[in-house]
């Protein structure tokens, strides 16, 4: 079997055709989709990238992070600051952004793993650091503090393609984040089937047994944190230059960290396609709920005067509860077996 064939081997013919068709639709999206569809699709891929990064830590190596917004935020602020202060283009700035995000990951990982702090404690440590950094950035005036940090953008910047400075048309951002998300998918596929990936899975399933067999648990856990936080840092750089404004209360908000986990958990933790599949369900679902509420108001079913601030989140979180209760392994494995997308002997 050719290397390429082996790569796609786990997918059944039906899965291959469906995947190819889906990819074609997404590649051609800018042709038929309006600006609204483009924005939603860009968000989907952005969240899929972060989800992939988060899934690498929990799904592959068994490390629960609930502070992933921290790595994303550090990447975002680093690249944005270097661009605004010394004019460093983001294509170079992404390197220090990754470096700082990884440094933070290493710090948390070292603190956590040094005493074999597991499970809940590690998760709480990630939240604690995310909140700590949020409050610090709130008070750093050269990062804009609570007022926010803004990148200058002119209307001329909204056309064309400038990948060096990450300035251009919405289509450029869309294809870029799509490439990054799919790149992360390929990287995870590669890692999962590498020696490193098998070590991770051994640690995830039974750390003591892995250690007894001579796996350096601390080192391989650190590798997982390093790769994951680096990926999240890249996502942050994209965020900074896509949004052009950074607020600590938004970027480092714990809701961002929870958001990072949702797609993967709904899609299926530890599966390759789970994160991307989950975000493809959840983000449009949120949009549909918003639209439906607007429509009901329009038809007069709901009084338009009523403020429905929380309703969307209420419905959305209720759906998440249902998924946890009834499809705890995630939707992707279920869909896979239903539609026979994978060969029976392979796992998604």
């Amino acid at each position: 079997m050719s290397p390429l064939g082996r790569y796609f081997h786990p997918l059944s013919p039906a899965g291959l055709w469906l995947g190819a068709a889906f990819l074609a639709v997404l590649l051609l999206l800018p042709v038929w989709g309006g600006s609204y569809v483009m924005t939603v699709a860009t968000t989907v891929f952005y969240l899929a990238l972060i989800g992939q990064s988060w899934n690498l830590m929990l799904g592959f190596a068994g490390l629960l992070s609930i502070g992933h917004a921290l790595f994303v935020g550090i990447g975002a602020y680093t690249a944005a600051y270097l661009f605004a202060a010394v004019g460093l283009p983001p294509i170079v700035g992404v390197l220090p952004a990754i470096a700082l995000a990884v440094l933070m990951g290493v710090l948390i990982g070292y603190l956590g793993f040094r005493f074999a702090i597991g499970g809940v404690y590690f998760a709480l440590l990630t939240i604690a650091f995310a909140e700590f950094v949020r409050i610090i950035v709130d008070h750093v005036s050269w990062l804009g503090a609570t007022e926010g940090f803004f990148l200058k953008v002119s209307s001329a910047d909204r056309h064309g393609i400038d990948l060096v400075n990450l300035r251009g048309a919405p289509e450029m951002y869309y294809y870029l984040i799509m490439a990054l998300a799919l790149g992360a998918l390929v990287l995870c596929r590669f890692l999962l089937r590498s020696r490193l990936g098998y070590y991770w899975q051994a640690i995830r399933d039974d750390a003591e047994a892995a250690e007894a067999l001579g796996v350096n648990v601390l080192r391989y856990k650190m590798y997982a944190v390093i790769i994951s936080s680096g990926m999240a840092g890249v996502a942050g750089v994209f965020y900074a230059f896509y949004q052009n404004s950074l607020f600590p209360e938004i970027v480092f908000n714990i809701e961002r960290s929870i958001e990072a986990t949702l797609g993967s958990i709904v899609g299926g933790v530890g599966t390759l396609f789970g994160p991307i599949f989950g975000t493809f369900i959840l983000t449009p679902l949120g949009e549909i709920v918003t639209e439906a509420i607007d429509l009901l108001k329009h038809w007069g079913v709901i009084d338009p005067q009523i403020k429905l601030d929380g309703l969307k989140l209420l419905i959305w979180s209720f759906i998440v509860v249902l998924i946890v209760l009834f499809k705890p392994k995630g939707l992707w494995p279920w869909v896979c077996s239903r539609l026979r997308l994978t060969r029976p002997e392979a796992e998604g």
Binding site: I117, V120, I135, D138, D309, G310, L313
Partner: protein, 290 residues
């Protein structure tokens, strides 16, 4: 800075810290027995605050008199939540339990937003601005009453676990779940009771803290994080540790507000948390495990 300024800050932090400690007790009880981290912690507490607010508005009831009612209501909520929802995920990995409770937390905040709106609302008791002085130490009545109420509820809870047979049975479940089942204890009912008791602590703490702070739905995640910090500092699962951690955090917040600025106070708490994890990861009063 003179001595009395410092002493006033410490005293005020200590009194508020006792209320924080009561709230953290609720988290510690649930984790210690059911081994579930209640991510809807602050949300349940804020429900207690809103309940006390309604009682004040409708019946003119002082928040402190609402404490038993809020505790009873939240006990029922926690009991049903554990029995109907949380018990169904006990066999699932930690991250699924986290997600379930986080989703429930978001549901509670959203529902509160729909009902009460995003604005801060408070109660106005007639002793709100009264205080007494010991030397130059000035103690506000609301803070003192809140601390006394928190100590009473916490003592009742500790006595319940120490002296009643149900309390002992719950502790048996925490020590050895299978053993408890073998001797014929109804573990699922005791778990529901435990979640109820933890939630009742939060209801009580919510009603008490309404005396000191205004309430709005977005307050909830902050209280959740605060309780996490407190129980980790005190030792996850240690009841007395939760109280000690609460006092420590209360005082450290007051110090941060005095020495830096009020908005830095949670950074101080998180700094303290990181320090504890670095030096004594099992918490100040936690047992060393693993």
């Amino acid at each position: 800075m003179d001595f009395w300024t410092l002493a006033n800050a410490v005293a005020s932090g200590l009194l508020i810290g006792l209320v924080y400690g009561l709230s953290a007790l609720g988290l510690s009880v649930i984790f210690g027995v059911i081994r579930i981290v209640n991510f809807a912690h602050g949300e349940i507490m804020v429900m207690g605050m809103f309940f006390a607010l309604l009682m004040f508005r409708w019946l003119g009831l002082d928040p402190l008199l609402s404490v038993p009612l809020a505790a009873a209501l939240m006990f029922g909520f926690g009991y049903v939540l554990q029995l109907v929802v949380v018990s169904r995920v006990s066999h699932l990995p930690e991250h699924m339990q986290f997600l379930l409770l986080a989703a429930i937390a978001i549901m509670i905040v959203s529902a509160l937003l729909l009902v009460f709106g995003p604005d801060a609302q408070g109660v106005d008791v007639d002793y709100a601005w009264n205080s007494f002085a010991v030397g130059e130490l000035i103690i506000d009545y609301p803070k003192m009453f809140a601390a006394i109420a928190a100590v009473i509820v916490a003592s009742l809870l500790l006595a319940f676990f120490k002296y009643t047979s149900t309390g002992k049975a719950i502790r048996a479940c925490a020590d050895n779940r299978m053993g408890a089942q073998v001797v014929g204890l109804n573990v699922s009912r005791l778990y529901a009771l435990t979640f109820g008791i933890g939630a009742a602590c939060l209801g009580a703490a919510g009603a008490i803290i309404l005396l000191l702070f205004e309430v709005h739905p977005y307050l909830a995640p902050g209280y959740t994080l605060l309780a996490f910090v407190i129980v980790i500092i005190g030792g996850l699962g240690s009841l007395f540790g939760a109280l000690v951690g609460g006092i420590l955090i209360g005082v450290s917040e007051a110090m941060a507000a005095l020495l830096f600025q009020p908005s830095m106070k949670s950074a101080f708490s998180f700094g303290l948390l990181i320090l504890v994890l670095l030096l004594r990861p099992q918490g100040l009063l936690g047992k060393a495990v693993r």
